[in-house]
Each structure stands twice: as C-alpha cells, then as structure tokens.
Subunit: 213 residues, 2 copies
C-alpha cells in the first residue's frame, strides 16, 4: 500500500496512544498522523485556534491525499484545510453529528468536560444542527488518552449516556477522537447507536474516494 494514495487522518494533539487507537480502528487505506507540537489534549479555545494552522500545514505537506480527516471534535482548521488542499476535507464533529442525524430524530453528545460545550454549540448552530441536539453532557475533565483507556472514565460515560437517553437522544456522539476504544462496549450497554466520530468521518471519506470495498 506504500505507493497508493491514502486518506490522511490528522490527530491535532500530541498523544501517540490516541493516534495509535485510531490506526487500530482503521485499515491501510488510512494514514494516521499526530502533531507533536500540539498539546496532549485540545481543551481551550486557544488550543483550537493554534491547532488550525498546524492541521492545514500538515495536510498541505502530504503528497496527493485522497481525503483529509481532521480528528479533533472542535474541527480545528477545517475551513483553512479545505482552502489548502484540493481533496475532500472532513471534520469529525461535523461527520459525527451528521451520522447521528442519519440514525435518530434527536442526538446527544458526550464531551470531555463542560468547557467545550459552548464552543461545540456555536459550531452546531452554524452547521444548522443545534435544533436536533437533545443535550450535551460534559465528563469531569478527562484527557483524550483517558477517554478511551481509563476504566473510571467508562463509568462516567455510562452515566452520561443514560442522562442523554433520558433527555430524548436516540443516538449518542462521542465528543473526542480518543473515545474510539469505548464505542462498541458502550453501545452494547446503552442500547442506542454510539457514534465514534473518527469512524463516521472515515465512512464519509470512503464514500467519496472509492467506496466501501
């Protein structure tokens, strides 16, 4: 696969275990990269603002990617990256929420903390998707790494998921690129579709680059 054109997945944080988990969830049609000069977790508005140009620059440095996925739930640099490369560019917040819209009338989001919820809402409103949000719940302030790997976070996730279902969510979007390893077990426990936004973006990317086989 080394000479084939690939779908580039950019994790804008600097935690290699988060990037590895994405790599484990995808096959060799995808090339997963992180940004060593980024923070361990994208948390503040400043983190998002600083990540944007780094994402666009890393995307522009790739040789003829088939598509680019921006694998942070604040979608840093999606517009700049679209301006910088000629291929499809997909942010995981937009893709994750879009998948949820195709799965249920109303959806919920689980964020790493309360902090990004206001920022997510601004983006959801701009996307025209706020109306179908049942609710967004923040965890206690966990890292992108802990999101997918810490057993204590799993208990928080279960409680948050139950709250969202009680609020009318028929599908739940995991609001960080690091939650992937928890998706399947959470879906089995909660009984509603749980969307890993990285997989959702991968689905969109495959559908416009060469299909599902």
């Amino acid at each position: 696969m080394s000479n084939a054109r690939r779908i580039i997945v950019i994790n804008p944080n600097s935690t290699p275990e988060v990037t590895s988990a994405m790599r484990d969830a995808l096959d060799d049609r995808f090339l997963c990269l992180d940004i060593p000069e980024g923070p361990a977790t994208i948390v503040t508005d400043r983190d998002v603002a600083e990540a944007g140009p780094r994402v666009a620059a890393l995307a522009a440095a790739q040789e003829a990617p088939l598509a680019v996925i921006v694998a942070c739930f604040s979608d840093p640099g999606v517009a700049e990256t679209r301006a910088a490369v000629p291929c499809p560019v997909i942010g995981i917040q937009e893709a994750g929420v879009a998948a949820a819209l195709a799965l249920a009338p109303r959806f919920g989001i689980i964020a790493l903390s309360e902090l990004p919820i206001a920022r997510h809402r601004v983006r959801l409103e701009r996307m025209g998707m706020l109306e179908r949000l049942a609710d967004e719940v923040g965890l206690s302030g966990v890292s992108a790494y802990a999101a997918g790997h810490d057993p204590a976070v799993y208990d928080e996730l279960l409680a948050a998921g139950r709250r969202l279902i009680a609020s009318g969510a028929g599908a739940i979007v995991l609001g960080c690129g690091g939650f992937g390893p928890r998706r399947a077990v959470l879906q089995a426990a909660l009984g509603v579709p749980i969307v890993d936004p990285v997989l959702a973006a991968a689905g969109v990317a495959l559908s416009v680059t060469g299909g599902q086989r």
Copy 2:
C-alpha cells in the same frame, strides 16, 4: 460469511439491475435485497406510501440484522422499520445529505425528475437540513435503472451538476439509489465531492456496527 450477521440493504424497487449495482459497490458484510412487488422506480407519493410497510416487513423478516439500510431516496418506511427492528436503521436520503453536510457548507441534490423535489424538501425541512441546500435539480424523468446505466442520462447529470455548483453547492448528493455506477466519473468531471447515498449509508452503518476494517 453465510452465518455471520450482516447489514441488510433493502432496495424498495423491483429492478434487479439496480440491486446488483448496489451489491457490486459493497462487500460481503452487506446483503442487498429488492422488493419484487414494488414498482420499477419509486416515483409518486403513492409509491412511497406503499413501499414503507413492505420495507418494514422485509426488515422484520431478517434474522438478527446488524443494521438496515433503506435504499430509496424518499426514505420509505424508515420510522416504521425503526419501530419494527432493534438494530440501527438508516435511510439513504438522510445519510446522503448528512455526508454532504460533512463535506461542504452548502450542498445540492440531483433528482430523477422534478416530481420528487417537493417531497424531498418536506423531508429535508423536517430533518432541519433545508437551510444548507443550495438547490435541487430534477432530470428529465429517468428510471432508477437508467440513472446508473444510460449514457444519455450521464450528459443530463453533468449539466445538472454544473447548475448546482453555480448555485453554490460544494458537494452534490445523487438523489436515487440507482446512481451509484456514475459517482466516481461524475466527481472526476465536476471536481466536487459527489455523494452516492447508498455508500454514505453504508459508511454510517459500518461506523456503528464494527468499524471500517
């Protein structure tokens, strides 16, 4: 794969070539079925109303599907099917439009004729997605089979796509499950992402049933 649980793709029309084209685009994680008592193409509101219960009944008759895709762009029977089976149920209109929302600020749709446009708009408004529609253009009244197979229809598709791009569409959704064979060549000709809604729904289904590998 015969004993594995699969994602069921239901083509509500009775044209086996359309179902075959879907089968060709997907791998053996998917089982594609059509409805022999359906019309050759779903055209009228009555066709849609009659297809709904047939889709729900066929879905309910499958043994433990992983997910169900309703592969007609009027999404017949999606709500009824969700009530009838415990797995994720995905309509290709919702999934196709959702994928487009993750690809560009504004999208367009190409329909088989002018006739279904009003019906699509009602559904888009209910989905909260009408605001981001640049425009929808109807072809001259072609069948689901001709959509993917007739060279004359390809010229119409090109012209419709150019109109939509001029209207501000940054991504275009093909408004029938039969357009699949034309997606890649159209994307190469028009230079914007072209969404085959069957592939988009397949991407959503894979993301909530076992991933992209």
